[in-house]
Subunit: 546 residues, 2 copies
């Protein structure tokens, strides 16, 4: 009976772990493993939420960020916006509960998605300094609420320390104040860099940053918000048996046929019938039957439906759930910040991974004030500053043969080049909760690669033109070098004035040079083509090896 | 009032996200982003739990693993052990709830720690195939329970499909059967490799693997379990304000003094007094007072205590919570598997990160049957097969100047070398829930580096000996090449027999060669020393940049 005793002893120690406890102990999963990064993450969570809220309420965002050193390695961070505010009842839950939010369950592009970010900032603050977080919010109805909140970690519930009404006139929005441990630095992975890049990818936002080293203003470059992304229904190509089973249980549809057409995007009655037929779901008379109640489907029938879906041709999901920047904006943003000699941008058509629409945009700038290679990664307009090597965007860059395009560099290109990559999606698959790198789904790698190839091809043409012009110029110089001697010799030979002859020679040289240029430019260019791989039609992706 | 309406509309969409929903949508965080890896993770979770349970119940583990292809990309996985079993009431909770387990809250070394692994395997199975997981368990009391379990994802609760008693005689242990999507391969990141490396780091376990390609047996090389690690109390050096505050609320201690001495390891009454004095916690008479009730401490007082702790010298935490392999076992394991020409192992003394004890062990093998460089990483005896580049162990390797030690290779060494690194800890800080790489805490990087340097220094001595022997042998060969001609010439000159002279010359050559070897070996060796950096005494770590 010894095993039984041991098993019982072990059973006594077994208990549930709250999600707050889990992330408190694993705070490095959220990026809080380094005091410099901690400050950045907190600012990022606040600003991302502010931008999301303003955009959703169709307000031109004006955001104020303040970082103030209170004592060595202890900072006050304030983030204030002019958004729609948060209704009183929701304030404690949003800031005092991990995994709570509005963005997780809907399919539309937004910066936040997990319901973890801001509450984890509250948790990190209380963990490192013992301090509560102050949240002030007004929805513009004249009442402004001020809360002091902590998280009850054992139960993952808000702990309200105070709750009062304050006078803030007609202001609406949210103001959060954190007091936390940290170190403030201004290097390439800093709050300053994050705000700079945010200004590039959100040119409609006005951001003021009151830093420990002075004030920075990022004014809006565009006076129009991007189009509002719509919420979409899931697409059948990405639905797995487990999810289908849950949706079947929850649906209000009375028949399988109406379940398929009403709960998914892009399924018409013809497609629904085809799925039902291919899945072999038949009525009592043995013919395909879509009138079956969704609640009565067996597990085997669900599996058959998921299999059948792969054989049926469905339209790609609607893409108005995405809000890409557009190649114009990408070019403008890069131009404003980098003032390069050459600039190009590529916006790929939207496509789908695991049923979720996404779209890749790439901007490429060269020369001008760019001194060394610079890579900027963005997901839903949010700059990604850490874990570059782990990101699908970097991995896709490493698959490009840069030398073929006339550039230096082995895995990443070298020289005065800036590369901007943006992934817009209803659900960005980050490699960790800290949302610093995009997971390497094959279809994402492929899309980034194709966009990069297209952009680099244009750069390659520009560079080869540059090289030709340079070559001609060198030939010209050599000609000119001998022109003087030639003129003197000719003058002696012909008895004419040397200067006159010099002018003639220069004329000839110019004509020859221009014709040479014309001929060169008329030639078929030999920049490497974009490799377009055969796209899989049915939304299926190669998921093979790592 | 538009803002108010918008805010209310947005509030209506806000809701709690269950941890199951979170990981279902983010299954790549757990490593389930690739069908080959999925099979590996499931086997790993089952085997790790089996080893933990057997070790805890002091049973020599015998584990049976079966992977069977049911149809294309659909597999059955069975893992059966001879451990103590799980009591009936706990079976559904352990397999049907994410974040549920016995190992999260205690401080002692174990393979599992998060209470996520096996339940996520159940979730992945139902998500991809719609199938429930079958769990059979007996604690040896004659009753064997068989459950079929799914997870109610919306509520993160088990859904019991069936629950019966079956006859399994006197067997005790757990047998789990998953049916899931996957792809079976046997390459370097495979189930087979995982089991091979598990056999190296757990030489007391007997593992049988019934694979789709045949049977593999890993027999036990040692008939004794490692010493049982003890559970320890937290150490004050790693305690942050937030945790202290929770512990103060939960403690049964009546005074601050007894709280400090009873709830933490290595705090005696002298140290407790010193902390209280340095923190400036005084009674009514203005002198330090440890009689204060723990429940009545203010936030400021807690912050003062955390600060004071850093100025007080405390002993390092006890390390019997760790169960390192020992350099002997590391050497034996490597020898058995790789049959190298040279082998060495280093076991560092235990140290602490964030208050948690850990210990680094390194094994190094060279030559013999090793063909190309091989790196094996382990955390608490579990082989880590993925995300090599992201792991503190790899990062530490990359800081070593291999050429200085006579090896080739830039960041990682090249050639016939095998490096084995093991981190034993009460809490391994993994970079993601998939537990594939160790987070780069500075103190961990440093410990791995020091262990590697020490081991590589020994290899370097061996290699320089090898090089000298080789040099001598070459000199010998050159000598021998001319010996024939010399002998003939000498024979002509002296009139003696050429063969006789040849023998004499060879004798001389041998003597000279041996003396040269003696002299060389007597020289002071010049292998680079181990760089010992000044260790910080107070458990504080540099947490600066990434």
């Amino acid at each position: 009976m010894a095993q039984k005793d041991k098993a019982e002893e072990m059973a006594g120690q077994t208990k549930e772990i709250s999600v707050s406890e889990f992330f408190e102990k694993n705070r490095h999963l959220l990026g809080y493993d380094n005091k410099i990064k901690a400050l950045l993450i907190i600012v990022k969570e606040g600003v991302d939420n502010a931008l999301d809220a303003a955009e959703e309420a169709r307000i031109m965002p004006e955001i104020f960020v303040k970082v103030e050193e209170l004592e060595r390695e202890k900072y006050k961070i304030v983030i204030k916006d002019n958004g729609p505010g948060i209704v009183k009842a929701n304030i404690p839950k949003i800031f005092g509960t991990l995994l709570y939010g509005s963005k997780f369950h809907r399919l539309r592009q937004s910066r936040g998605q997990q319901g973890l970010g801001v509450s984890c900032a509250v948790m990190y603050s209380q963990l490192t300094t013992g301090e509560s977080t102050e949240v002030i919010s007004s929805t513009g109805d004249g009442k402004t609420h001020k809360y002091r909140i902590k998280i009850d970690v054992k139960n993952n519930k808000p702990e309200i320390l105070s709750d009062e009404v304050v006078d803030m006139d007609t202001w609406h929005g949210v103001q959060i104040m954190f007091i936390c441990e940290g170190i403030y630095r201004e290097h390439k992975q800093s709050i300053l860099e994050y705000l700079k890049e945010t200004a590039i990818s959100n040119p409609f936002a006005k951001i003021t940053f009151d830093s420990p080293n002075g004030k920075f203003d990022f004014s809006a470059g565009i006076d129009k918000l991007p189009d509002e992304p719509s919420e979409i229904k899931p697409h059948l190509y990405g639905v797995e048996v487990g999810i289908l089973s849950r949706m079947l249980k929850a649906t209000k549809a009375r028949t399988l046929q109406s379940f398929l057409t009403s709960e998914f995007s892009r399924v018409g009655s013809t497609a629904a019938n085809e799925i039902i037929t291919k899945a072999g779901i038949v009525g009592e008379d043995g013919s395909p039957d879509g009138r079956l109640s969704p609640k009565r489907l067996t597990d085997e029938q669900m599996v058959s439906i998921v299999k059948a879906v792969k054989e049926v041709k469905l339209s790609r999901p609607p893409t108005d759930c995405l809000s890409p920047l557009g190649s114009d904006s990408v070019e403008k943003g890069l131009k404003k910040e980098l003032n390069p000699d050459f600039i190009t941008a590529v916006s790929r058509s939207p496509t789908v991974y695991r049923g979720w629409p996404f779209q890749i945009e790439v901007g490429l700038a060269y020369g001008g004030s760019i001194e060394s290679a610079k890579f900027m990664r963005f997901a839903n307009r949010v700059p990604l500053l850490y874990q570059q090597g782990d990101c699908a965007m970097t991995k896709a860059m490493a698959t490009i043969d840069w030398r073929r395009y006339g550039l230096q560099g082995d895995k990443l290109p070298e020289g005065p080049i800036a590369i901007f990559i943006h992934m817009a999606s209803v659900w960005v698959p980050f490699t960790s909760e800290s949302k610093e790198a995009v997971a390497s789904y094959p279809i994402i790698l492929k899309e980034v690669k194709l966009a990069l190839q297209e952009a680099t091809r244009k750069l390659s043409l520009y560079l080869s033109g540059m090289r030709k012009a340079q070559y001609q110029q060198e030939r010209m110089k050599i000609f000119e070098r001998y022109a003087g001697d030639t003129a003197t010799a000719l003058a002696e030979l012909t008895g004419r004035d040397a200067d006159e002859i010099q002018v003639m020679i220069n004329e000839i040289a110019k004509t020859v040079h221009e014709e040479a240029l014309k001929t060169e430019n008329g030639k078929e260019e030999e920049a490497p083509p974009v490799e377009v791989e055969g796209g899989k039609e049915n939304g299926e992706e190669d998921e093979e090896a790592e």
